[in-house]
Amino acid sequence: MKAGLRETMVEVMTEEAEKGKNLVVMVSDSTSTSKIQPFQEKFPEKLVNVGIAEQNLIGAAAGMALGGMIPITANAAPFLIGRSNEQVKNDICYSNTNVKLVGLNPGFAYGPLGPTHHCIDDISIMRGFGNITIFAPQDPREVRALFHYLLSHEGPAYIRLDSLSCENLPGTSEIFKPGALTFHRGGRGDDSDLAIICLGTASHAGLAAAERLAAEGINAAVVGISSIRPIDRGALSAVMASCGRVLTVEEHSAHGGIGSLAAEVIAENGLSAILRRLAVPEGQFAPASPVPAIRKGYQLDSEGIVAATHAFLRETRKDD
């Protein structure tokens, strides 16, 4: 059954507030973006709207945390990461305050609204900051597990949360394990032709592509990354080394996302694996177009992943 990721987040916040958790949700006019109304109706005093002022949103969240509360900020990812970048760096990360930053509608979820509203640099930027943990949940089950986990663990976190409504994936768990990879299909030492490694909700397209490839006799492992920091580098190395070919899929710049992460792990461990990255090429803005069109352009939909896999296998025939 499909469920919205944001709606699921709001359900968890409501459950935790009902249990007496001292949380406060903070928005910058983004009450509709965050789908927060059901929570707001139950706990109006636990919702703070600071108006369209992202710098103040993040500084104020740090203050609320220093004052003993658990703030969860929820606004559009491009403005959280861009407009309040220095507040995120200093007030949240460097000061190590217990704030959960939720970046809503990342990637090019805003499609035709254009690059001012696209956020294809958040993972790259957040990986450059100290202290903070970084997550990109893949499905409603994982959103639920992740937010329960976050609200019972002290420390700053960034959560890249997509706008979509989707089914649960086969590999996710009711219990969130920070750092763990998600094995949706193969990847545990089996003889896959390649590993398709996906960031967050890109796992849905990755898995759909693998199923089509399987019908053609191509065995693709599908591994999801929802915990970017921490991450089990050993497990990631093992997947990539055993498959030999690695295709990363992310609605992000090729710079600094999981494509970069995979490249680092391959190089640092001297792995014998060839890497191809599906992402927005470094140095580019994505066009202002409907989301399916942008995904199609970068081969980030299941058809694109299938086509990219065919090309990848042609270029790297193992029996040559």
Binding site: Q55, G63, L66, G67, E86, Y94
Partner: protein, 275 residues
């Protein structure tokens, strides 16, 4: 929780003199620092720590303590010397200011130094965080107050005005902002770089209860704090007129001393003026 000192203005002035001496010695020993900035804020910090703030060096993390944020984080030297005078950190630690991996880095770090609430240095951060602290107190029905010391030059950062708007909107009469109005910033006079006046009118327009004080006179500061209205739903602002480099004649009111340090005979001459 109460301030355990509650000193009179004349006793605070003696503390301020001692803090100034520490600043000169510490900056000269470190070979770096923001001497003019440190000296400017001393009387405000001494008044806060020896009378106003309900904090206790024995329990720096007490959940009921008042919260103070030094938004002008480059004034770390004056802050550390005040924290030492008030017993939050040991005097000997001042000898390590700016050394490798010191507990006293060039800008305040809460993980390093007892009494520091927020890592500051980048400007325009203190007021939004103090706003959040004050709002947290209201949300949790806590009686502690939040205080923030702002540099006048840093008011160029728009984040201050976002926070000012919000503090007024949320009726945070438990928030007090103090401006160290020394009229100098790094490059030159504030009014030459980016005019701030009419400063009081701007804050009044943002809904603040605005007061004036001589920021280098503990008596004036104590009277000002005593005059803050209680329970009127309005955040407080004190424009504290100060002299950058206050207390040392050859340092006073000179932009060049923003981040200069005394060397050689200047050290002896400065100490002599304080004795």
């Amino acid at each position: 929780m109460k301030n355990k000192y509650r000193l009179s203005h004349s006793e605070i002035a003696i503390k301020a003199r001692s803090i100034r001496k520490k600043i000169i010695e510490m900056n000269a020993h470190a070979g770096a620092g923001h001497t003019g900035t440190d000296l400017s804020e001393v009387d405000i910090l001494a008044t806060l720590y020896f009378h106003i703030l309900n904090v206790d060096s024995e329990r720096p993390d007490d959940p009921d303590r008042d919260r103070f944020i030094l938004s002008k984080g480059h004034g770390a030297g004056g802050y550390y010397c005040t924290l030492a005078e008030a017993g939050f950190i040991e005097e000997e630690l001042l000898q390590t200011y700016l050394q490798a991996d010191s507990k006293l880095p060039g800008h305040p770090v809460r993980q390093k130094t007892a009494g520091v609430e927020l890592n500051t240095g980048a400007l325009g951060h203190g007021l939004p965080v103090a706003f959040g602290l004050a709002l947290a107190a209201k949300k949790q029905n806590k009686s502690w107050k939040s205080y923030v010391l702002l540099g006048d030059g840093e008011l160029g950062e728009g984040s201050n005005w976002e926070a000012a708007m919000a503090a007024s909107h949320y009726k945070l009469d438990n928030l007090t902002a103090i401006i160290d109005r020394n009229t100098l910033q790094l490059a030159d006079r504030t009014e030459k770089i980016m005019g701030l006046e009419p400063l009081a009118d701007k804050w009044k327009a943002f809904g603040f209860e605005v007061h004036h004080a001589d920021g280098n006179d503990p008596q004036s500061l104590l009277e000002c704090f005593a005059s803050l209205e209680v329970g009127n739903n309005r955040p407080k602002l004190i424009i504290a007129r100060t002299t950058k480099g206050k207390g040392i004649s050859f340092i006073e009111d000179k932009a060049a001393w923003h981040h200069r340090i005394p060397v050689g005979n200047e050290v002896f001459a400065a100490i002599k003026e304080l004795e």
